[in-house]
Symmetry: C2
Subunit: 220 residues, 2 copies
């Protein structure tokens, strides 16, 4: 029981910090997006495509979360206005970003010069669903080779999503992915979600996603 | 600090239970394999292919771990000699199987009638690496659409693997996956690992894996 009490304490503290982060984003009129997926679903490619489409008129910061390594931050570095890398290894919760880590990242980002912050969470469909970061939007990326049954197995993260990206649409001819079945499973968990089938490789469908993202700013 | 001490206590208790599980497997001359991967890499398809190749002369039990749902256990049910489903939702560690869960599963499996137990862990490249289950072999599955940089980002699980399966080899013409780069990254973490590129969809490469698996039993 002691461990469960402590975990609850951590979640309460996280919520308070997340609220503070949200106030920072709001005070700078900056939209914050928490991007979550399984390993290899394409979070970094998705961020690169989003920057490519928006960078002409939007100043974008990126917070890169990973247990170890800086490979994603290096890929993004030349394209974003600012990047902060967070490595979670050795932290009490290493399998997800938590609000404390975002608080530290916000101190390092030039918040007055940013319109949008994209947060790449750790590759994991479980732990990240437990921690509010203070973001405005939660985006979950699935990829077609993962199969259409993922919402049945990882329901919490899909139930929280504002948008679900179905990446690697270019592989649809070669994999067993039933789009209708997938969307029905997600809708059963989450009636308000918006879907964006797209391919970060070919660029197909990216415009629809970016148009929607623009429509979310600065609504809150 | 309190939380870290408690986590250490949990890991010590897990190790003791894992040792007990290993004694149960050994006393029945039964090989136990812990199968780990990201969501959607193909653990269940891999188990089904392995059963297909071995079931003529090998009695196989399966322990299916998932946070929620029984979809995988249902797929495996008609092919294995025995199946036990474990749902980790609500348990203190819900993002991985732990030794306690395997101990319970072993009480439900007809251990005297089994030669091999395949354990499908929760889809996650992080948490499962923390918990010894009492298995003899750790198998990590990666899939080609995930990309070849996964060992850099999830090094612990690759460093522990006895075998690394590179699944979805049939998609190699359509994805950016550098096999040589991937193998080099894993070898830098783990010199003793054996690789099996294969496709659970086409069956290509499955024989090599199964031949190796046979060679591991009952060596210990």
């Amino acid at each position: 029981m002691r461990k469960i009490e402590i975990v609850q304490g951590i979640l309460d503290a996280n919520e308070a910090t997340a609220t503070g982060n949200r106030e920072v984003f709001d005070s700078h009129n900056c939209l914050a997006v928490n991007i979550m997926s399984a390993p290899g679903a394409g979070k970094t490619s998705f961020i690169l495509r989003t920057i490519e489409e928006l960078s002409a008129d939007t100043r974008i910061g990126v917070i890169e979360g990973d247990v170890v390594s800086t490979v994603d931050a290096e890929k993004v570095h030349d394209f974003a206005s600012a990047v902060v890398q967070i490595n979670t290894k050795g932290m009490p919760e290493s399998c997800a970003l938590v609000a404390d880590m975002i608080q530290v990242a916000l101190e390092r980002l030039p918040m007055s010069d940013l319109d949008l912050v994209l947060i790449e969470n750790v590759g994991n469909l479980l732990c990240p669903s437990e921690f509010d970061l203070g973001e405005h939007l939660k985006v979950v990326i699935t990829s077609t080779p993962e199969g259409h049954d993922k919402p049945l197995k990882y329901p919490v993260i899909f139930s929280q999503a504002d948008a679900v990206i179905i990446n690697k649409a270019d592989l649809l001819p070669y994999v067993d992915f039933d789009m209708e079945d997938f969307m029905r499973s997600v809708r059963n968990l989450n009636a308000r979600v918006t879907f964006f089938p797209l391919s970060c490789k070919t660029g197909e469908g990216v415009t629809e996603w970016v148009t929607w993202l623009r429509s979310q700013h600065p609504a809150r």
